[in-house]
Symmetry: C3
Subunit: 337 residues, 3 copies
């Protein structure tokens, strides 16, 4: 493993291998494995879980880390190629990435989607360029349409709660004051499909996942024996569900059209997930969310504070699985060897 950019690069065998290493490190900590190793962390966007858990993961393996936040204590950084930099950005990733990479043994980068042009966001131009500029292992801390650390942690959470590999996984759109990126829904739909699950994407009209995202999830499902469908039928979606994964994202029918997004969102203002919606789900159906979650906007208090919720465990697993990722990328050999 040279980078950690996409669970699709690993396949299900690769995922299971990493989860095995994560379990091993939970049992047998390896507190000097990364002694002398440095993780650089570059955050173009806010973070709580990733920011904290990545630093802790390095510390627990004996390494260190540093954080750069363009625009907050550090220069604004341009990602477009060929531009005349007479705006707010004083620095370009063509310098920033090679320089930061020279200071560290692996670099983690968070760079959300621009949210203006769907084809462009799907192509991940910023992240692809960053990857081409980075001569040390690169870790995707959430890009335009991917979030492999979250997806890996979520797989582990499904395992921890013994959700069957063939179980029904409902990825449900949820309300939010504004359009959020497609990274988590894309990564999570793919992850559940790769795990072999019956994936149902439930969303209002206009919020369907783009075809390339669905196609990628379906290719994973085809290999694993799972399936991926989309629907706007709430009752059908939740019937018999093992897991409901709530997530907010923007209008895809008119991607980047803020006014249309607002109108579509007003029509879907009742999409706050609540217990009554899950009447047809399994009794032990779990509620998942990648966090942060806006209470009583995306998900009602009653669900988040109720017995279905495993959202905190998902976040806890971020640390667990990222230790495995960093160990695999940076340690000389596996601890069990």
């Amino acid at each position: 493993m040279n980078d950690f950019l996409d669970l699709a690069d690993l396949g299900s065998d690769g995922v299971l291998d990493l989860l095995g290493l994560a379990a091993h490190l939970q049992q047998c900590p390896d507190p000097t494995a990364l002694a002398g190793r440095v993780l650089g962390l570059l955050f173009f966007n806010p973070s709580l879980r990733t920011l904290a858990s990545m630093q802790v993961a390095m510390g627990k393996l004996g390494g260190t880390s540093f954080v750069i936040t363009p625009g907050t204590g550090s220069w604004n950084v341009e990602t477009q190629v060929g531009v005349t930099m007479n705006g707010t950005a004083a620095e370009h990733i063509r310098e920033a990435i090679p320089v930061l990479a020279s200071y560290c043994d692996a670099l983690g980068v968070r760079a959300f989607a621009e949210g203006r042009d769907l084809a462009e966001d799907l192509a991940e131009p910023a992240f692809a360029q960053i990857a081409s500029l980075c001569r040390v292992p690169l870790v995707n801390l959430e890009s335009a349409v991917n979030h492999p650390c979250q997806a890996l942690a979520d797989w582990k959470t499904l395992d921890d709660f013994r959700v069957p590999n063939r179980g029904k996984f409902v990825l449900s759109w949820a309300n939010h004051p504004r359009a959020l990126p497609l990274a988590v829904p894309a990564a999570v739909a793919h992850m559940a499909a790769l795990r072999g699950m019956e994936v149902v994407v439930l969303r209002p009209d206009g919020f369907g996942l783009p075809a390339p995202i669905l196609d990628k999830a379906r290719r994973a499902a085809a290999e694993s024996g799972g399936s991926v469908v989309e629907t706007s039928d709430r009752n059908a979606a939740f019937a018999g569900a093992h897991v409901v994964y709530a997530k907010e994202w923007g209008l895809t029918a008119k991607y980047g059209d803020a006014a249309a997004d607002v109108r579509a969102r007003e029509a879907a203002v009742d999409w706050t997930l609540r217990e009554s919606w899950l009447a047809g789900a399994r009794e032990n159906c779990r509620l998942m969310h990648c966090l942060p979650v806006r209470r009583n906007v995306a998900v009602a208090d009653e669900l988040l504070d109720g017995p279905r919720s495993v959202v905190v465990q998902q976040a806890c697993n971020r640390l667990t699985v990222q230790m495995a990722v960093l160990h695999r990328l940076l340690a000389g050999a596996d601890p069990q060897d």
Copy 2:
């Protein structure tokens, strides 16, 4: 000791015990005591001393730390229960605290008072909720009406300068452009009373400390043989003083009324502490302040730069005593054992 939230939880014996450990660690550093231990630091408000000294304290004991600052590189965090989160906060403490606690062995939190409703601030609703959500030891890095790290450091500073336990401790209100919280005056009045001192709170009319704060300090005084009085008589207050502790705080007579606070502050605009005020104090009367201090607004340069000032030593002692707090909370056993 399971948490470090209030010197009142410790009593004077508990404080002396911690100060003994602090002195021991100054003599005999224990640089691997907290190897592998992680301190999470959550700052809802700015900091210089606490932010630096807490990180250094962990480092000097062999541990590590991480910092989360809601609104700066991290999501704005809601503390109210039951609200519909359609404002600026993307995250709620009901998720943030359990998640951060899962990444660390102890969590330090700074969360200032709202400054709108006195009864509410005195009840510490945010901090009480945080404590209920945190399954690892919690350290109060300044809450609505408490600042135990500062109070503990100040006690040590009084000891370092051999201020008598029964000495006269004048907590003097000082000018500031706007209302500041009651945390330091409350914590320091209680600390001095617990140490057995003759505590005089000097303040303009309308700025009296709220009854629950005075009552708590008086209960401590009753046990220790000290006393607590309030006055607006400057000469009487400073006469024979061993210590003058300058501190700014808001109008309490009309708590949360910004216009009334401004008017009261205009009437007290001469409350910049200066040497001439201390004519009746002891020759070696010390000037204390928790910092940051606005020079020539709260305290004149002549005092801060003069021989009475021990404000830098107070800040230095933050590191010293916090190492003891963290050692007691997180090390397996005391170093002298």
Copy 3:
């Protein structure tokens, strides 16, 4: 070496000694040299390279560090003496520096020029005061008119690329949306002169380096056998150049006059360095820049992405030479001893 404030304090022998130590540490890492040592980092201005590389340098030598950024998570800090602090600054360096110094074994400070009064900026009032207040070794991370870490790294880069000591070093003014400080041009002109180079400062009329900066560089040249001239003749400047060091700075003829600076800058809008300018330079003439660089404003893409550019190597060398600086300041003895 008690502080690291100016290459002029070291002389060329001192520089060569540090570069020797840097090379030694590259060959023979000393990962526990600074165990238990703490570097405080105080940034009044944004940073990417310095912020990351200083933390990494401490980590690679076994030490730790903390970062304070006034105005971002920490109080705004006043540097003027004697003022009445009723503005935005809650804290004064007269407290902040002694307090931070008490928490660490060395303190690094970045404090850019005010850019209003040339004589004042040349006198470095903030940095001089900080130095007088700091009882631990102080490291200049860029002050009003100096940047010794950059200059030391640049010397190493010149050595790495075997640029002759007597080679021609053209410091060329470059375009920028607004006036930048004189710190890098001053430090780099002095460094190249101290190395014995033929230094040519190329700039539009009105942007000449102030006499005290040129005089200092010329004193260094006089000792080393180098030379320092200024010109606005581009072809003459680049003819036979071994190195072109591009750098932006403000109008010096009317220093601090923003309107005049804008007008002068409009007249110099074509000063974007490009390959065609270097027709008369040596075939292997190197392009240097301290970064961050605004692409296609200060320097054209074709140069930054072309074979002449060593800007990333300059930044990489920041880490290398700063490890030597910190080792010399904080380690008990040199590793080779």
